[in-house]
């Protein structure tokens, strides 16, 4: 991603385009203060969820909105990242080795490991699913999501269906990060870095080829470029960031379970990206805020909250083509979408 133009002007133009994202990040940064003022610690927990899911939605949108690849397995990748942290912590607490590797509760080790393992899983599944396109890709990623789900359900040693409680005390290279507010700000920083990473990526040569492939794959091939490599690279990067979010999720919850990998959650991530707006890197953050808040608030009114939620999803698809991000002015170009 070579950016040769003077840095200060490019930062300024970037700010001009991304001011809604900056605004949202600032508002999110105020959450702990608000929670303190109105003395409601639940809000921080809720918004930690918002921020972590937003990271996934942004990562997913890199392949969904800019690559037109409708991945229905991001919950699976998310779960892999989460389970890596949880399983190593389990072996630390148990003081039993994982095959030959000793367990550890040091996140400075397990978070990079979670990213690597998830990226590897994304590379393997991507190599198969990206050979197909359109509807086949959706169905295959959905199947892979289910495969990962069953895999963790079958791991009786790590709790199977019931999930795995993290009993070892997690730390980051000796620093305790489990305080709610500290952890919230760490997650928020990761979200900010993720947004910067992906906005730089989509404006790089790599990102332009990815978007060109989404719009017209044949032309890209005619230019002498093999799209598969770019799509695979994009899928792996997206997966790696999703794995990182999963690792944060496990750290924040101190608990992982196969339900974190449920295909419904994969669909939720897609809904977040679509609702927020796929044409912009930061659009899915808005979607994550709205969806997580809806899922948290609706059950207060009715036990049957999935009914209105489902209707809302249908209405979003029917009426809200550009997503919430369009409220801040239209994007330069409409997002992708697999056809």
């Amino acid at each position: 991603m070579p950016e040769s133009s003077s840095n200060s002007t490019s930062v300024l133009t970037a700010l001009k385009q991304a001011w809604p994202a900056v605004l949202v990040l600032i508002l999110l940064a105020l959450v702990p203060t608000i929670s303190q003022v109105i003395d409601n610690p639940f809000i921080i927990r809720l918004f930690t969820r918002v921020v972590i899911f937003a990271i996934v939605a942004v990562a997913l949108n890199f392949v969904l909105g800019f690559g037109a690849l409708v991945s229905m397995m991001h919950a699976g990748l998310f779960g892999i990242g989460a389970y890596v942290v949880a399983i190593f912590a389990f072996h630390e607490y148990d003081s039993s080795p994982l095959w030959l590797i000793p367990g550890t509760a040091n996140l400075a080790v397990t978070i990079p490991l979670a990213i690597i393992v998830t990226a590897f899983a994304a590379a393997l599944t991507g190599a198969v699913s990206l050979r197909t396109s359109g509807a086949y890709f959706i169905m295959i990623t959905l199947a892979f999501n289910q495969m990962l789900y069953y895999f963790f359900v079958a791991l009786q040693k790590y709790g199977g269906d019931d999930g795995l409680q993290i009993l070892a005390s997690l730390e980051f290279a000796g620093v305790n990060i489990s305080r709610r507010v500290t952890f919230y700000y760490i997650a928020l920083c990761v979200l900010a870095v993720t947004l910067v990473l992906f906005s730089r990526l989509i404006n790089s040569r790599f990102g332009v080829i990815l978007q060109a492939t989404a719009q017209n794959e044949r032309r890209v091939i005619a230019l002498g470029i093999s799209p598969l490599r770019y799509k695979l690279a994009a899928f792996v990067i997206s997966g790696a960031v999703t794995g990182l979010a999963g690792a944060l999720w496990a750290t924040g919850q101190q608990f992982v379970s196969p339900s974190d990998l449920s295909w419904i959650r994969s669909a939720d991530f897609v809904v977040m990206a679509v609702l927020g707006g796929m044409a912009r890197v930061w659009g899915p953050v808005l979607g994550a805020v709205v969806i997580v808040l809806l899922e948290a608030l609706l059950p207060n009114y009715t036990q049957f909250w999935q009914l209105p939620f489902g209707v809302i999803v249908i209405l979003i698809v029917v009426y809200l083509q550009g997503g919430l991000a369009d409220l801040f002015g239209r994007a330069r170009q409409p997002g992708g979408g697999g056809h």
């Binding site: 050979r131 197909t132 295959i140 199947a143 289910q146 295909w263 669909a267 999935q306 009914l307």
Partner: protein
């Protein structure tokens, strides 16, 4: 593995495969003709099971209950197509996935509203509740045999209709080239409505049969739907023959995988099979538009 266990598992596998075929048949034709991904197909499977259980309770007559349940499931499918899905034929696959995902959530909560969250029991009547001596020392539950037989019969009937009748020819014509078929005078919209309703009834039939083996509960259609997608993808989208072979393959491999392999591997084996087949033939075993 002893011979008797082998036979028992083989029967289980074929029976599971036949059931998967009943669900996949509708899914693959709907996709083949209208290019529509319908995730809510699993909800029809669930509705079939719940409706059958409810009608048995009301009428006390199994045959009447089954007929009512299937007719009503077909009607639900028909209404769903006319009311919602019809608007999505020309939208992107992404929109189709999202809207049918929304429908799944709606169906699940409607079922919860009507029948509650506790699984409903649904058993086939007395003469089928025993077991049969197949050969030597192989005992097999009668109702599983009944399900196997019904499934095979329906699959055979479907095959004859799709491959050897005029209506079937229209369906296949619609699946392989819709504009061409309609230019030649086939009312594709009408054929499709019929296919959608029939596919819904088949999903409902599979659901009520599965419900009589295990239990009838909310969300029962979702894991099955994903397996049906695997079947559809392996068989080649739009191919009824492909769906049948792939369904049997998945049914048998899944059943033996769970018996022979360690659980973590056994539950993944069909998805790996899918990956291998797709790496070899990305459009499935029997691509329709090849």
């Amino acid at each position: 593995m002893s011979v008797s266990l082998f036979i028992e598992q083989l029967l289980n596998g074929v029976q599971f495969g036949v059931m998967l075929f009943l669900i996949s048949a509708g899914l693959t034709l709907v996709f083949g003709i209208m290019n529509l991904i319908n995730l809510a197909h699993g909800s029809l499977y669930m509705m079939g099971a719940f409706l059958a259980a409810a009608f048995v309770k009301i009428t006390g007559n199994y045959l009447a209950a089954l007929a009512l349940a299937l007719a009503l499931t077909a009607l639900i499918g028909y209404v769903m197509e006319k009311l919602v899905l019809q608007r999505f034929y020309h939208r992107s696959h992404l929109d189709q996935v999202l809207v049918t995902f929304g429908l799944i959530l709606v169906f699940n909560d409607i079922v919860r509203l009507i029948w509650g969250v506790v699984p409903v029991q649904f058993r086939l009547p007395e003469p089928f509740s025993g077991s049969v001596q197949l050969i030597a020392d192989v005992q097999y539950p009668t109702f599983r045999l009944v399900i196997l037989a019904v499934g095979l019969l329906v699959a055979l009937g479907l095959y004859v209709i799709v491959v050897h009748t005029r209506i079937g020819m229209w369906i296949r014509a619609g699946a392989s080239n819709r504009p061409m078929a309609s230019a030649l005078g086939v009312d594709v919209g009408l054929v499709f409505s019929a296919v959608f309703a029939a596919g819904s009834a088949l999903a409902g039939l599979a659901g009520l049969m599965a419900g009589s083996i295990s239990s009838v509960q909310v969300g029962m259609g979702e894991p099955v739907l994903i397996l049906a997608l695997v079947v559809t993808v392996i068989g080649g989208i739009g191919s009824i023959r492909g769906a049948f072979i792939a369904a049997l393959l998945i049914g048998v491999v899944d059943t033996f995988g769970r018996v022979l392999l360690p659980p973590a591997l056994g539950s993944m084996v069909i998805f790996m099979l899918m990956a291998i087949i797709l790496a070899w033939r990305p459009k499935g075993l029997f691509p329709v538009n090849a």
